[in-house]
């Protein structure tokens, strides 16, 4: 469970005049196993909000707790429990080969070699890249890099997986592949939090949609109830989405 309580985040020079409030007094909870979509236009505070979940951003006010422990009290626990996939996977991949990159997180946790090998194999299998551990990161396509980034997060065996704009720059097959991977995570019981301004791919998977505008929660409802309000937040929704579960239909499905 992720508990966000009255979180406010500001950017700027520290003065009241120069500071920009990215997240403004946001409170929400993400139960285990939930598929949550955090939607909003550019600059609405989505990324800053989810970065507080594992301590990559520090709130100026309010608290965030993961599994009952305040994030600030145990950053390693928070970063282990909340896996993060960045908007641009190139910012996240730190090794030359796929296997080395996926192993990077578990190695930092000080796990035994056998456990690291098991996690790397399982994570690559989960993103349909089994047996490609020796592939060079530089030779991968955008979609494959996204999947390696997801595998790197999965190798930490997180309770919650956060993906920041995971479909940016991906072609249709790559988008479908990522959606399939997210659907599998949902079935596996991992709570998935997708940050996006385009709900066409994930609305059908969502249990709940939180819409942000100017750093505040403007919508917090089930997809069917939220979809009518989302276009007002400059968020793209599937055509005729009201009352449908469009994302449940993927071209890779039979």
């Amino acid at each position: 469970m992720i508990d966000v309580n009255g979180v406010t985040c500001r950017y700027g020079d520290g003065s009241d005049d120069g500071a920009v409030t990215a997240v403004d007094d946001v409170s929400l909870s993400v139960p285990d196993g939930e598929f949550l979509v955090v939607a909003g236009a550019n600059g609405s505070g989505k990324t800053t909000l989810v970065r507080t979940f594992n301590g990559l951003a520090t709130p100026d006010a309010g608290t965030v707790a993961v599994n009952g422990t305040p994030v600030a009290d145990d950053l390693v626990a928070a970063r282990t429990a909340v896996g993060m996939v960045f908007q641009d996977p190139r910012d996240q991949l730190v090794a030359a080969t796929v296997g080395a990159d996926v192993a990077f997180g578990p190695e930092n946790l000080g796990l035994a070699h056998e456990e690291i090998d098991r996690r790397v194999a399982a994570a690559l299998d989960a993103v349909n890249m089994a047996g490609r551990g020796e592939d060079r990161i530089a030779s991968l396509s955008g979609g494959e890099r996204e999947r390696v980034a997801i595998a790197g997060a999965l190798a930490m065996e997180p309770d919650h997986l956060v993906l920041d704009e995971p479909f940016t720059g991906l072609d249709e097959p790559a988008r479908r592949s990522v959606v399939d991977r997210l659907r599998e995570r949902r079935r596996a019981g991992t709570s998935v939090i997708v940050v996006t301004h385009d709900l066409r791919d994930v609305l059908g998977l969502a249990d709940r949609v939180v819409g942000l505008a100017d750093g505040r929660v403007a919508v917090d409802a089930a997809p069917e109830a939220a979809v009518g309000d989302l276009p007002g937040l400059d968020v793209r929704v599937p055509a005729g989405a009201a009352g449908t579960r469009a994302g449940e239909t993927s071209a890779s499905d039979p």
Binding site: Q92, T97, L109, H113
Partner: protein, 237 residues
């Protein structure tokens, strides 16, 4: 192209990184001890062999091209005098041999880099140098090898972006200024993003290091490394 680890199954790939580090150290020592054309010719064969064992080639050496002008100019500068005879070939030749020596060391280093994953280099350093000094060195090597290729790619992207908008027609000085400014900006941004990525993935000073083990091939490499070091010491005495 940036020189970086290339997965493979070559002889050099199968060697323990500690053996390869010893060969490098021995080679560098020998290159500084044997500065005659004959000595450097022998070391040339060894350097080419080291790169070949890593399945490397001229393309890897070409990644050092930014150093070539400096290495080439050094003998000319060393040989030049302010008065008659204006140029002293013997001094230029000595410096030319020194430049060539540096090139040979870079060739051997290229073989190491393309055959050794960053985390194995880190493990080798941390196991060879005990304590915090080893951790510091290991982390430093790991970060430099992770950061430099990213920075190089950013610089190339900046250069392409400038060319794409007609910047290719600008004077060299202006192009250099634009790429330098963009490069510095991107370096700071890249460092920030890399730091965030490392934080998100629980970057640790004492992670589980990859398994390292000496094999049969390492015996030969260790013998070569020790032999080179011994030869350098004998020469110095």
């Amino acid at each position: 192209m940036t020189l970086s680890y290339a997965p493979g199954d070559s002889l050099a790939h199968r060697l323990d990184p500690r053996s390869k580090l010893l060969v490098q150290a021995g080679f560098a020592a020998a290159a500084y001890a044997y500065t005659t054309p004959r000595g450097l010719a022998a070391l040339t064969l060894l350097a080419v062999a080291c790169l070949s064992f890593a399945e490397g080639g001229p393309r890897d050496v070409w990644t050092y091209r930014f150093a070539f002008p400096v290495l080439a100019l050094a003998p000319l500068v060393a040989g030049a005098t302010l008065g008659a005879p204006w140029f002293r070939p013997e001094r230029a030749a000595a410096t030319g041999l020194a430049s060539y020596r540096v090139l040979l060391i870079l060739v051997v280093a290229a073989g190491y880099v393309r055959s050794t994953p960053v985390r194995e280099s880190r493990a080798a350093l941390q196991r060879t140098v005990p304590g915090r000094a080893g951790q510091f060195l290991g982390v430093g090597v790991a970060l430099v090898f992770r950061f430099l290729p990213l920075l190089k790619r950013d610089l190339l992207t900046a250069r392409e972006a400038i060319r794409a908008r007609g910047g290719g027609a600008l004077p060299v000085r202006d192009r250099m200024r634009l790429v330098a400014v963009a490069g510095v900006n991107r370096a700071f941004g890249r460092a920030d993003r890399l730091g965030t990525a490392l934080n998100a993935r629980c970057f640790a000073w004492n992670p589980t290091l990859p398994r390292l083990a000496f094999g049969r091939g390492d015996a030969v490499a260790l013998a070569v490394g020790c032999g080179l070091l011994a030869a350098a010491v004998v020469r110095a005495l």
